[in-house]
């Protein structure tokens, strides 16, 4: 092997490098955000450590919390009713703080398949599901899933029967949405913890379905 680098690039020229974060200029809004944050700290509205802790808390949220809520709804019909009526209160029963922005849980049934988008920006139930994936924020997903939802779902490997209603929720305003998927067949003997492992982030956005464990 003549190229001991394991990759090829013309020698005698500068080595290509991965750009650092600082290599692209700050946008107007990034500068504004930094300036406002620094002002609020200078004025004593919050401390740098409080700011850091809040960011750390938001970054630590993950779809596992939503998955526990879904698994409980699968095994406890009364909990499911409470979840559909008041998602934050039901999540609190499991020790999950879903925040103050109201979340609406929409239930998949044999007749209805729900999918979530925010066409205006990237509204997402972050405290229940963690930060949204990059594709959720992409213009392609946001513009296409309201226009040709079945084609978009098919690209995620999800085929919805032709006689099912595909219901796309565009979270344009005050609510955030979580999909309650249908419990897969063949899971009758599974524990709540085992069920929660079947519930992925994408199931709760509605672009895929929980795995059937017999597959």
């Amino acid at each position: 092997m003549s190229d001991s680098h394991g990759h090829s690039h013309p020698h005698g020229q500068p080595h290509p490098f991965q750009p650092d974060i600082e290599d692209s200029a700050l946008t107007h809004h990034q500068l504004l955000q930094l300036a406002v944050g620094e002002l609020l700290m200078e004025k004593g509205i919050f401390t740098g450590d409080e700011f850091r802790r809040t960011l750390e808390d938001i970054d630590s949220r993950n779809p596992g919390d939503g998955a526990r809520v879904v698994a409980r709804a699968w095994v406890d019909a009364e909990f499911k009713k409470r979840l559909l009526a008041d998602t934050a209160a039901a999540a609190a029963e499991l020790g999950v703080d879903a925040g103050t922005i109201p979340i609406m849980t929409v239930e998949n049934t044999p007749q209805i398949h729900n999918a979530i988008v925010c066409t205006l920006c990237s509204c997402y139930p972050r405290l229940l599901l963690g930060l949204p994936p990059d594709w959720y924020k992409s213009r392609a997903y946001r513009s296409r899933v309201v226009r040709e939802p079945r084609a978009v779902l098919a690209e995620f490997g999800t085929t919805i029967p032709e006689d099912t209603e595909v219901r796309v929720h565009d979270s344009t305003a005050e609510l955030r949405y979580m999909v309650l998927p249908m419990r897969p067949e063949g899971t009758e003997g599974m524990s709540e913890d085992e069920l929660a492992k079947l519930v992925t982030r994408d199931c709760m956005v509605g672009v895929t379905l929980p795995d059937n464990p017999s597959n």
Partner: protein, 100 residues
């Protein structure tokens, strides 16, 4: 505070208007007809709050159900597919009975 202008099931149309500013009524639904499916409640007007004005009257917020075939004339999926979208009352007008 007055109650909601539109009851659940009422046929409504999103106003065909294109004002500047922080508007939450999606562009692709302007002029499209659907039906109220859920009255959410009253909230501050984001078009005012975006400019620091928090004292104005609150607006009723609804969820409106649209048939995909009414939103996209060339919609490729089956006729029962729908969109459900949150819309503030200032963007809604009564639509004819032909709406879904």
């Amino acid at each position: 505070m007055s109650g909601p202008r539109f009851p659940v099931g009422a046929p409504v149309r999103i106003r065909r208007a294109w004002p500047p500013g922080h508007v939450r009524a999606p562009w692709y639904l302007r002029g499209r007809s659907g039906a109220i499916c859920h009255i959410i409640g009253e909230f501050g007007n984001p078009e005012e709050m975006a400019y620091g004005r928090y004292d104005g009257p609150k607006l009723m917020l609804y969820r409106v159900r649209f048939r995909q075939v009414d939103v996209w004339p060339d919609y490729a999926g089956p006729p029962q597919d729908t969109l459900q979208v949150e819309v503030y009352e200032n963007w809604l007008e009564a639509a004819g009975e032909e709406a879904a």
